[in-house]
């Protein structure tokens, strides 16, 4: 297919339609509204439906209804709207319903502002609802990935029977880049467990309730086993010049693009910097980080927040190597110059790595 210049938010919708998604429920919010607008335009022309819900609470519960009926369904929002959806996400996870939720993050807390931030990390990746559940989270850093990871999100949702988030900052949502889309529409079949109003599947029940303690425990352990499988099988990342790096920058979304530029410049100066970009924020590339810890002397986490993903970097490292942080927030973006300065300082402070026998846990 011919590449087309397209906004991230619009690319999500076209990719979703090609992935066989036929139900969209949403509520306007900057900087995610273009997704609802594009969905309103395209879904109704392609055999699907679009409802502008009365709230994000309604949107996520509509998502629950459509997913229960066995169709590929999605919604999109931003920070405050995602907060409102969290109860519903817990129900979706508990009832094991596949669906896709796109979060185009903005500044918080409260009304914050509409500028990009990466401060939804905790509420999305570490989950914002009640109960022992997880959601898979994909973090695109280009418009092409907005399309590709949306497609992947639907497949992962079906495979793991769980809500999957595509989490991008406002920049990735708003920017335009060339995208090559899939040439064919995915054929979607009704899953066996769906409640679709047919004789064949009349006995089906979709529920998150398990009234007996033993039943609920069994269900939770089943969910947990699923997440463990995702941790083994679904991890994705991009490692850029990281294998021999003294300093490994860790960043996702738009920040990873800035960091990549910084790494190129530092390498040009003969400084050994690299980048690890998690593409799945959950499951987090823990093993890769531990592997890089054998050769790197220090990690540098760069985020558009006061440090949220850094917690996962630290947990992955389990104290093996120091982690330094540089962040901007409130809608400010760390500039290349700032990150360069940060990286140089970190490199200067850190002693070069001495490869020694190290105990590796797990």
């Amino acid at each position: 297919m011919k590449p087309q210049l397209i906004k991230g938010n619009e690319a999500v919708v076209k990719a979703a339609v090609l992935a066989g998604c036929r139900a969209y429920y949403g509520y306007p919010i900057t900087p995610a509204s273009e997704i609802a607008e594009a969905a309103a335009y395209y879904f109704q022309q392609t055999g699907g439906h679009f409802i502008q819900a009365e709230s994000e609470v309604a949107s996520v519960n509509m998502l629950y209804g459509a997913a229960s009926a066995g169709v590929r369904a999605m919604t999109a929002s931003s920070g405050p709207g995602i907060s409102l959806m969290q109860e519903g996400v817990s129900y979706l996870a508990g009832a094991e319903l596949p669906c896709v939720i796109v979060d185009i993050t903005r500044g918080g807390p409260g009304l914050g502002n509409i500028a990009p931030e990466q401060s939804d990390y905790r509420q999305v990746v570490k989950i914002g609802g009640h109960g022992c559940y997880r959601v898979l989270v994909l973090a695109p850093n280009s418009v092409q990935e907005m399309a590709d990871l949306t497609t992947l999100a639907f497949d992962l949702a079906d495979e793991y029977l769980t809500p999957v988030f595509v989490m991008a900052d406002g920049f990735i949502g708003q920017m335009m880049e060339p995208v090559t889309f899939a040439s064919e529409v995915r054929k979607v079949t009704t899953p066996d467990w769906a409640v679709d109003g047919t004789a064949e599947r009349r006995k089906n029940l979709v529920a998150s309730i398990r009234i007996e303690a033993d039943d609920l425990e069994k269900h939770i352990l089943h969910l947990d086993a699923k997440y463990k499988r995702a941790e083994r099988e679904a991890v994705r990342y991009e490692a850029f010049m990281a294998e021999d790096a003294d300093l490994v920058l860790v960043a996702y979304g738009i920040v990873s693009r800035i960091c990549k530029s910084v790494v190129e410049q530092l390498r040009g100066e003969g400084l050994k910097a690299g980048l690890l970009r998690p593409i799945t924020l959950y499951p987090f590339p823990e093993a890769k980080i531990r592997q890089l810890a054998r050769t790197a002397s220090v990690f540098g986490c760069v985020e558009m927040s006061t440090g949220q993903m850094i917690e996962d970097v630290r947990l992955s490292l389990e104290g093996r190597k120091p982690v330094e942080f540089y962040g901007r927030c409130g809608g400010n973006i760390p500039s290349e110059e700032e990150v360069l300065r940060f990286a140089r300082e970190v490199l200067k402070r850190s002693t070069p790595v001495v490869v020694s026998e190290e105990v590796v846990h797990g």
Partner: protein
């Protein structure tokens, strides 16, 4: 020996045994005399009579009715508290041939779920809602409901419902009857056997409306809760008849069943092979690989001005033309705190190397369409870069930088002469192309044809491009003269 035939029996719409706690597999979990059982029976009977069991999806949210799925042998979806109407909406839209029932209590529907029910009704969703109103929170143990009568004690109104503190009982049928869309709203009661029989007709009608595709139907069922009311089942039934029906008058609140037209069927899906075209995705067939420039280029462009000058559009034309020319491109609007305050700018990158960061913090091209933009971004321009300012001359007070190529050309004025001040952005593009040779004219023509849908505007933009080129050419000639 006389011969008897079964007149009334357990409906086939109930499971034979109920998959619930241990031995209690033959009776419901409801308390003795609870109206939920009656309501279930009426629904099951209507489903059976209408022959829609296989098509039916029952949505049961939180409340005593949450376990309706133990009993009703239909498709079942258990929903979050208050959200049944939203869940039912989507199930129905996703499966238009199904018959979707939303079975809700009064805490669920009239307190936490008021938004969802109101909007489902207002959209005229073709679903059937059974609203069981017993004026109390049963499942959680007797707290105040939105429908609790004034003066009635509950665990959270220990001195009786005080209208000044708790408001008045919400009358759902009356409330919904203010909306245009609902086709059928009726309040029935389980206060006497006669009322129960009347309720059975309403329940059936509400389902039949959905079968006919007529739209939103709701039946409110005044129902006893002997346990929480601390009354015998018989006395509780009498309270429904005498007290509840006095607060919530039974009757038909809306009935447009006769005149209502069935909803048009959803638009059929187009053949799958047509969908890429609907999405505006073009086949790559016949696309000729554009000749890439023979030397590496890396244009980092910042376009800035005030809202309405076509700043974002200009950036888009540059990126689109870059794409046409086979280059790597990105376009990023400034979007954020300044977005709503009248100024506008965007970052465009056009180059031969894959683009790492789409942010342009050190531009080598600045198109400043107004003075504040020039002031703001001039210091960021890389030495050797280009600065094009929209004006006769660089304004006083702004230091002309000797290390960059600065040009002041009155783009807006030139566009004005073409009859469209708004085309100033394209005039500046023409000047940029003339001065830098950034992109071939052909690529820009393609980009404009792709982005500008109106033929009138396309012609204006073509003239604007030419005007920009002419003006820039003249400036260069002047400068060359001065230099000599």
């Amino acid at each position: 020996m006389a011969e008897y035939k079964i007149l009334h029996d357990k409906s086939n719409c109930f499971y034979e045994t109920y998959e619930r706690k241990g031995e209690l597999r033959n009776q419901t979990h409801y308390c003795p005399g609870c109206g939920h059982g009656n309501a279930h029976k009426l629904i099951a009977q209507a489903i059976e009579q209408l022959g829609i069991q296989d098509r039916t999806i029952t949505v049961s949210p939180v409340g005593c009715g949450v376990f309706a799925y133990y009993y009703l042998d239909t498709g079942n979806i258990q929903a979050a508290h208050g959200r049944a109407a939203a869940v039912a909406t989507a199930a129905k839209r996703s499966r238009p041939d199904s018959i979707v029932i939303s079975y809700q209590g009064d805490g669920d529907l009239a307190a936490i779920g008021t938004a969802e029910i109101l909007h489902a009704a207002n959209r005229g969703e073709n679903i059937t809602v059974f609203f069981v109103n017993n004026g109390i929170y049963g499942m959680t143990g007797g707290q105040l409901a939105p429908t609790t009568p004034v003066g009635a004690k509950s665990t959270t109104s220990p001195f009786g419902r005080d209208a000044h503190n708790d408001g008045y009982p919400i009358k759902v049928c009356e409330l919904l009857s203010a909306l245009e869309a609902p086709v059928y709203l009726e309040r029935v009661a389980l206060g006497t056997t006669k009322q129960i029989m009347a309720a059975s007709r309403a329940v059936k009608k509400a389902l039949e409306n959905q079968v006919k595709g007529l739209g939103f139907s709701l039946v409110e069922i005044l129902s006893p809760c002997p346990t929480i009311w601390k009354l015998s089942p018989v006395a509780a039934q009498e309270r429904v008849r005498d007290e509840m029906a006095a607060i919530f008058p039974i009757g038909v609140y809306r009935d447009r069943t006769r005149e209502a037209q069935p909803y048009p069927a959803p638009k059929p899906a187009p053949p799958a092979e047509q969908i890429p075209a609907i999405l505006g995705i073009e086949s790559a067939e016949g696309v000729i690989e554009a000749a890439k420039p023979d030397r590496p280029v890396d244009w980092r462009i910042r376009v800035a001005g005030f809202g309405g000058q076509g700043v974002l559009m200009l950036g888009e034309v540059l990126a689109e033309a870059g794409l046409e020319a086979g280059l790597e491109v990105s376009w990023l609007p400034s979007y954020g705190p300044e977005m709503r305050s009248g100024t506008s700018n965007c970052h465009v990158r056009v180059g031969t190397h894959p683009i790492a960061s789409p942010l342009v913090t050190k531009p080598n091209v600045l198109l400043a369409l107004n003075e504040p933009s020039l002031k703001k971004f001039l210091p960021t321009v890389e030495p050797g870069g280009w600065v094009l300012y929209n004006g006769e001359s660089i304004p006083e007070g702004i230091q002309v930088r000797g290390d960059v190529n600065m040009q002041a050309i009155p783009f807006t004025q030139l566009a004005d002469e073409l009859g469209e001040a708004k085309a100033g952005n394209i005039v500046s593009l023409g000047a940029l192309l003339e001065l830098t040779g950034m992109l071939r004219q052909e690529a820009v023509d393609h980009a404009l044809a792709h982005l500008v849908k109106s033929t009138r505007w396309l012609e204006i933009d073509r003239q604007a491009l030419k005007a920009g080129r002419r003006a820039a050419h003249a400036r260069e000639a002047e400068r060359a003269e001065v230099c000599q």
